[in-house]
């Protein structure tokens, strides 16, 4: 194994992203090839359908949810803690029951999933942008620039997402006196998740870039005077997109889980705009009192969503790994 892949493995693991992306030899993946392997795996097809349905439910929440849990004027505390319809004392208006404030659990799940996904997508996009840029620069320029960027990455690795979120939360509170969670929680989450995820992209992209830049076509491009930026964007970037896609998919799942953990620690989304994690954290308080539906249904929704996305990521990784074919 070349030196590069050790670095990659370290990066992947330290980030707790789970599954380290296989080193990309790369990868002239023909679409039909991928499509073929896709159809071959029944699990993947099911996962893809599941993901699609969940995404649709989440993003169409305002139209498909029976209630709007954000409209304070429409919820009543007197409807609090109604059990799911198949149980005693239930209310036909609330299919999966209500939470401690009288919000419909089903609707809260749809809206919560939307927030979880938005947080996930935004943080992955931000992390990928930072990571790819720095990775390309480090790999292409090498030398001192490379050393500086990789040392920054080392510093970054010492701060897990949870720590970063707590830090940013505190710093923001210090700077703005105090912060309005409703406004800032979202941005704090994105920034802290992005800050803890970018290293993985950077290391992977850097590794691939170092391999690519010594190839003849890049050398040739350089010789004929094509500017570095163009070379990076036009020639190297497309070649490293495979592993990046794999990391991004897995990170999306990880971001959603991490956001849930942060909610448990009190730095996630506020209860007035609950994500799936916030819903679980709220419901935790009601597990022993018999009102299990407040935590369990959002928990199931979260598990389903993350499981599906992870399965897709799995398949993507195997499909993009030429050594396995």
């Amino acid at each position: 194994m070349p030196y590069v892949s050790n670095e990659e493995a370290k990066a992947a693991v330290q980030d707790r992203a789970g599954i380290p992306p296989a080193p990309s030899r790369l990868a002239r993946i023909v679409d039909s090839d991928m499509f073929h392997s896709f159809l071959r795996s029944k699990v993947t097809v099911v996962a893809a359908c599941g993901t699609l349905i969940l995404f649709l439910l989440a993003f169409l929440a305002p139209w498909v949810a029976p209630h709007n849990p954000f409209d304070l004027a429409s919820i009543s505390i007197l409807d609090a803690r109604v059990p799911p319809v198949w149980m005693e004392y239930s209310d036909p208006r609330f299919l999966l029951g209500t939470d401690d404030q009288g919000r419909d659990i089903l609707s809260a799940i749809f809206y919560g999933m939307r927030i979880s996904l938005i947080v996930g997508f935004c943080s992955v996009a931000a992390a990928a942008t930072i990571g790819i840029t720095l990775g390309l620069v480090a790999g292409y320029m090498g030398g001192r620039v490379d050393a500086v960027i990789m040392r920054i990455a080392d510093v970054q690795l010492t701060f897990p997402a949870i720590l970063i979120a707590l830090l940013i939360d505190g710093v923001a509170a210090g700077i703005f006196g105090s912060i309005d969670r409703e406004v800032f929680a979202f941005y704090i989450l994105i920034v802290s998740l992005a800050l803890s995820f970018w290293v993985q992209y950077a290391r992977t992209v850097r590794g691939s870039t170092m391999v690519e830049k010594n190839k003849e076509y890049v050398q040739a491009a350089r010789v004929i005077g094509i500017p570095s930026v163009t070379i990076m964007a036009r020639h190297i970037l497309p070649n490293v997109m495979g592993p990046v896609m794999v990391i991004a998919t897995i990170n999306l799942a990880l971001a959603i889980v991490t956001e849930a953990t942060l909610s448990f620690l009190g730095v996630g989304m506020p209860p007035t705009q609950p994500s799936l994690g916030t819903l679980i954290a709220i419901g935790n308080d009601f597990l022993y009192s018999g009102e299990w539906w407040i935590a369990i249904f959002p928990g199931l929704a979260l598990a389903l969503l993350v499981l599906n996305v992870n399965l897709l990521g799995d398949w993507l990784r195997d499909a993009l790994n030429p050594k396995l074919r």
């Binding site: 370290k10 707790r16 690795l157 799942a253 597990l287 022993y288």
Partner: protein, 324 residues
């Protein structure tokens, strides 16, 4: 060699300095420590006097300089909550965290490796797929939720295992306490170790599977098979041996991550380790504990990174030419 090591050491020290600066500047702004140290009825003048005594009114560079010179001597000041030296508090909490981390790493390896080998060798079998799917659930649910469900099942409903704490601990030497030597201590370890180790188990299993899949396709293994060596021998003597090298490296590195992520498990199970102390410190704005924790974890990561780099230097001769 010496040049390489010296360069890496210098880089490691710069990293630590940057972390120290970050830790200092950030924590300097988290909440107001004074509010934590006094009761709600303390007057403004008393608060101001305390602020002065703590040096919170000094210029920031002066405070930073004081901070690093003291940290370098393992003096992290006095905890605002406990009014005891932070280094002493950490010394008392470290055994709990290390024992939990060790037990969960053990769990992850003992369960993860066999599952990974099986799944790697029998890629298409139903059991492999089951392993993969089940292990995915392990990373699809947040740690705290798994912990709470385990407590609900095994402590409250079945009453088999304790829901909190370390059980009975035995003093070993001057400052180490261990839960490994008592029945209640061992029982108390089970649920937290599973909660914390589930993620690493998944990781190791999948890593082994992936490595196995790659290794058994290499010419070297194909050649061994072609020579007519029995499958079992090929699989375990040749394939597994090759697989384990990266796994061991990564497990070493994971130890740092386990310690960092023990915070959540420790919170759920009221495990008296340093992660729990850190989270309580965050809630109570106990700045000395927070900065000490941050520096300790950073030190751990940097130290492990440094050692691994040096090891690679010996393992991989290509590196000796110098870093690209």
């Amino acid at each position: 060699m010496i040049g390489f090591a010296a360069r890496r050491l210098l880089q490691a020290m710069i990293v630590m300095l940057v972390v120290a600066l970050l830790a200092f500047t950030m924590f300097r702004f988290v909440g107001d420590p004074i509010n934590q140290m006094v009761g709600i009825e303390t007057s403004l003048e008393e608060r101001e006097a305390l602020r002065e005594r703590l040096g919170l009114n000094d210029p920031i560079p002066v405070q930073f300089l004081r901070f690093i010179t003291q940290a370098a001597q393992f003096d992290f000041g006095t905890s605002y909550q406990f009014r005891q030296p932070v280094s002493e508090l950490f010394a008392k909490r470290i055994p709990a965290t290390l024992e939990l981390s060790f037990a969960s790493a053990l769990f992850a390896l003992v369960v993860g490796i066999p599952m990974g080998i099986y799944a790697g060798l029998n890629r298409e079998s139903a059991i492999s797929k089951l392993f993969l799917s089940v292990s995915l659930i392990g990373i699809s649910l947040p740690t705290f939720f798994i912990g709470i469900l385990l407590i609900f099942l095994f402590s409250v409903t079945l009453q088999w295992l304790p829901s909190f704490g370390r059980g009975e601990v035995v003093q070993v030497g001057s400052w180490w306490t261990t839960g490994f030597l008592t029945l209640s201590g061992l029982k108390a370890l089970i649920l937290p170790s599973i909660t914390l180790g589930l993620y690493q188990m998944t990781l190791i299993m999948r890593l082994i599977r992936a490595e196995m899949l790659e290794v058994i396709r290499t010419d070297y293994i194909k050649f061994a098979r072609a020579r007519g060596l029995p499958d079992r021998l090929v699989n375990f003597r040749h394939a597994l041996k090759n697989t384990l090298v990266p796994v061991i490296t990564i497990t070493g590195l994971q130890l740092g991550a386990i310690i960092a992520f023990a915070t959540i498990t420790e919170t759920v199970f009221q495990w008296p380790g340093m992660g729990l102390m850190f989270l309580q410190a965050v809630q109570n704005v106990d700045i000395p504990i927070m900065s000490a924790y941050l520096l300790l974890t950073a030190f751990l990561f940097v130290a492990i990174n440094f050692i691994v780099d040096i090891l690679y230097f010996f393992i991989d001769p290509r590196l000796r030419v110098g870093r690209p």
